[in-house]
Symmetry: C2
Subunit: 578 residues, 2 copies
């Protein structure tokens, strides 16, 4: 048996910040070196951040990434960490194009490069636009251990390079990843990693990014499994972490087995580590509950969007309703109450409870709070332009949006848009009104889930002996936009439970009309909801970014034309009359 | 020699409108049949419209497309057009996935299917996300002529199916296309088509879409070239057209030559057409000048966006400046003056000439015109919220945006955003202010080009003996946002000529810092401009769609992260201080 102390560095880096990310990597390598690690694995494209989108096509950036990698190798050696083999993801560029790559740094040099084979081009991914696929395999001998590398999607595809590593034989597989969070993805991930370890016939080190990047959030959840698929170690979600494990490996994997791939072999150190007493045998963090996980995803992505874009504070409208209350609670958890500015903006149609619930939320959470009535502003527009009906309703929402933007411009806060996924789906929002904002924290949370998360967050506070942040009345009262007297959401929309069920099938499931009827929904309801969803595409295009937590978020996940005459249930036999 | 009368139907269809598009196809086939055509070619995905984006992933839509195709074949036969072989683009779906396909309809049946081999996944294209590539070739005998088919990108790639058709031998190649307009692309296209015809050793029929679809506009420019590459016929740009040509073909192409591809052969009619006197020997439309072509692209895309989305009229702010003047002139050319509503919205900082130039524009073009001063509205916000400086400037722009949206909601007009590409690039616009709109006609036109197009449009009017639409003073005066006393654009921005030159290299050329210095720009200018461009990404994300006319438009052409610490010229050696 051969021993090896490995570390998975689950780090939070920033897209494009080559110098800053190199600093992060150096910091974590130092920790790993101090802890006696022999091999450290960083996530996919840790040096550049991920996803870099069309920066991958910019030659100057690719060259800077390659240069930063070489400098990093030197810095690590200068810092006395040269003996630790470090696998670091970065952007490469060669005669065939840009590469999603991982390199091994050792004794001040870049000693191996592995390119990603499988380039995902579905969902939020556009990697065939950005990268050229790799076809080779780099296998290194590190302390007498044969180590192969595979990058992210390479383990999601059957018959990929992991299978080949299993065929030619290695002692250990390392895998840098940038796998975005989605509800319940952690369960899938562990199963998959276990399966690939069995295929490789070797332990697998799965290192994942953590932190937010625009609409994506990475949950970490780095994993070490044994050759038989047994879970050996698991990192906590949504925090930076160095997951250390002492491995006992059989060693003696064959060397020089022929392969369909070009295999580049290099020996860094043939001599195994002298026997030592293991200190990190098992270290398994408990995965979060579904609600805790979603909440942490929303908090992390919001925090990183604010900070990575140079903001220190946020401002949002507090209507007394559930959506703004949940956004405020998220912002407080992300940034601290002192960085959150709540504004109540009552109109003549605002009820007494909406004002008192907003004030109560501010009291409970401790956010800054001010009241800015909008009557004067609304009157100026409505009077001069002679607006009535929907036009008048929209002016109210827009005066609120303008007020928030005014305070943002004056004081430097980022504006949060408080709309939920249900509203965004059916277009139940005012463009340039409540849709105003730099970031939309609950953009991918259906209304019914907003209520569930609110209840969960309050219960979590109670369990910890803290004041629940969200007033009970904001959770229990019937939702209303309060843009005309006595208005309720149910005047314009189906019951939220039913609506969210249809949306789940139509948006996440991409199911057609017949399929939705087969699922038991009434034809009239289906036609009504689908019509609303299809017609709101133009609003979604101008909506701010927000954290993706579902399988299919609005945004890069679901790319539909604005100009689109297709109506489900009409299958082209009957021309639509508009 | 074998004779054949062919027609290229350059049609304007609507994405998703299967029934409506089938009607369009039937109408043009009738015309072709009346003109005695034996073979008609429609553009790529003519039945579904193009690009359908993620509709390609919806099974219900793909099935509806297939069913609509079968019905279309029946309708054509019922209409007495069954003897005309019609090549029609549509969406197919089989066990391997969705297909960008073309079918031949003949005597009431679908007699052949050809799938696209090469799926573009760059620029505005995401076809590897949407389609599975084809690998076979369909070859038909039509009136004794061997006909092969290749779809759009298949002729842009060397060594594609055209080369194989040349090897196995055909008498004629038909090519359905949906090739979006870009400046000067027509020159490239003709050369390419000629080259492929020579490769195939047969005449090539290049049928292209016409009309607008969200940010893309198709210019038609359908082409027929002889086997030696000689141009035989060319359709006019930006109009629906049936391009008819009488061909003399050698005939007698080999049948049954072995191929790497699976070749599906079918004989529709072995008997050549009896000799007839040709009526359509040559028919070559003169391509438009660069300015005329760009203007027509902007007009066409605006018109189609408005009409295909169910609007009949537009409203826009008239500031007296060049951008709003050009947008108004485009709208008048697209929709007629009676469908255009101009609003002058003076503030306390508006100069006398901005009011008089706006009124003069309205007088010259005949658009509806009203004046809505914004003082009262601005005072309501500035007074209550205590806004100063930039916050106060932005309120003015936002009160104008709200005024236009109020009029839009009240009267049903689509709002036009009048910003140009230079402003959008450097973020010289107010989000939720002048950026408000459903469509942005000159979003992809650099400021210097806006002036050139204005001059060209005025000259064209003079040449036709009409009143030039744009007041000379709007063209010649120094540009100003008029958000504070005596403000000029040059207070905040470099000279527009220089700025546009940098933008051209940085945005269209994707050139890095060193490259820009090598091109002769001053380091300080480059850093200043690039910083502005990089920091404005969040504004661009919420900007309305607008016509793409350049090689790289903001939008789907250029996909950069919002959270992005990369700064050109800093190459990661120096951490940026913000």
């Amino acid at each position: 048996m051969v021993q090896l102390r490995v570390g998975l560095a689950q780090v939070n880096v920033t897209v494009g910040d080559l110098a800053g990310n190199a600093d992060v990597i150096v910091r974590w390598v130092r920790r790993g070196a101090e802890a006696g690690a022999h091999l450290l694995v960083f996530p996919e494209m840790a040096l550049t951040g991920y996803p870099i989108e069309d920066l991958a096509l910019r030659e100057s950036f690719a060259e800077a990434s390659k240069a930063a990698l070489v400098r990093l190798a030197g810095r690590l050696a200068d810092a006395g960490c040269g003996e630790v083999a470090c696998c670091v993801g970065y952007l490469d560029l060669d005669g065939q194009g840009a590469r999603d790559a991982a390199a091994v740094l050792y004794r001040g040099e870049v000693v191996a490069r592995q390119f990603k084979h499988h380039l995902p081009n579905y969902g939020v991914f556009d990697e065939r636009r950005h990268f050229t696929a790799g076809a080779g395999l780099a296998v290194l001998t590190i302390r007498g251990v044969e180590v192969g590398m595979v990058i992210c999607e390479d383990i999601w595809q059957d018959g990929g390079p992991v299978t080949e590593l299993g065929r030619i034989g290695v002692d250990l597989v390392v895998s840098p990843n940038a796998s975005p969070y989605e509800r319940k993805k952690d369960d899938v991930r562990l199963e998959l990693v276990a399966k690939r370890a069995r295929e490789a016939g070797a332990p697998l080190l799965y290192a994942n990014l953590v932190g937010g990047q625009d609409e994506l959030v990475f949950d970490g959840d780095s994993i070490v499994v044994a050759a038989d698929g047994t879970l050996l170690a698991r990192a906590p979600q949504f925090v930076e972490h160095l997951l250390l494990v002492d491995l006992d490996l059989p060693g003696g994997a064959p060397r020089g087995e022929p392969s369909e791939f070009t295999v580049t072999r290099r020996t860094l150190s043939a001599e195994p580590v002298p026997g030592y007493p293991p200190e990190y045998p098992r270290n398994i963090a408990e995965p979060l509950s579904d609600e805790a996980e979603e909440w942490a995803a929303l908090v992390t992505c919001l925090r990183d969007y604010v900070h990575k874009n140079g903001f220190r504070s946020v401002v949002l409208g507090l209507s007394g309703g559930i959506d703004s209350a949940v956004c405020a609670a998220l912002a407080v958890d992300a940034l601290g109450a002192d960085a959150v500015y709540g504004v109540s903006m009552p109109s003549v149609y605002s009820s007494e409870h909406s004002r008192s619930d907003a004030a109560e939320l501010a009291r409970r959470t401790g956010v800054h709070y001010e009241v800015q009535p909008i009557e004067t502003m609304v009157a100026a527009f409505v009077g001069q332009l002679g607006l009535t009906g929907l036009a008048e309703e929209n002016v109210q929402a827009r005066c609120r949006g303008m007020t928030l933007m005014g305070l943002s411009n004056q004081h430097g806060h980022l504006v949060l848009a408080t709309g939920n996924k249900t509203e965004l789906a059916v277009g139940y929002s005012t463009i340039y009104g409540d849709a105003v904002g730099g970031f939309a924290p609950i953009k991918d949370v259906l209304k019914t889930r907003v209520w569930e998360l609110a209840r969960w967050r309050n219960a979590a506070a109670e369990w910890r002996g803290e004041t629940p942040p969200i007033p009970e009345s904001s959770i229990s009262k019937p939702p209303s936009a309060e843009l005309r007297p006595g208005q309720l959401d149910t005047d314009s929309l189906p019951d939220y439970k039913l609506l969210d069920d249809v949306l789940d099938d139509y948006v996440e499931g991409d199911r057609g009309y017949e399929d939705l009827l087969a699922a038991g929904f009434e034809p009239e309801l289906v036609q009504r909801v689908l019509r609303m969803v299809d017609r709101a595409e133009f609003k979604r295009r101008q909506y701010p970014p927000g954290t993706k937590i579902t399988f299919k978020a609005f945004g890069r996940d679901r790319r539909l034309p604005i100009t689109n005459a297709w109506r489900e249930g009409q299958d082209g036999t009957v021309p639509e009359t508009t």
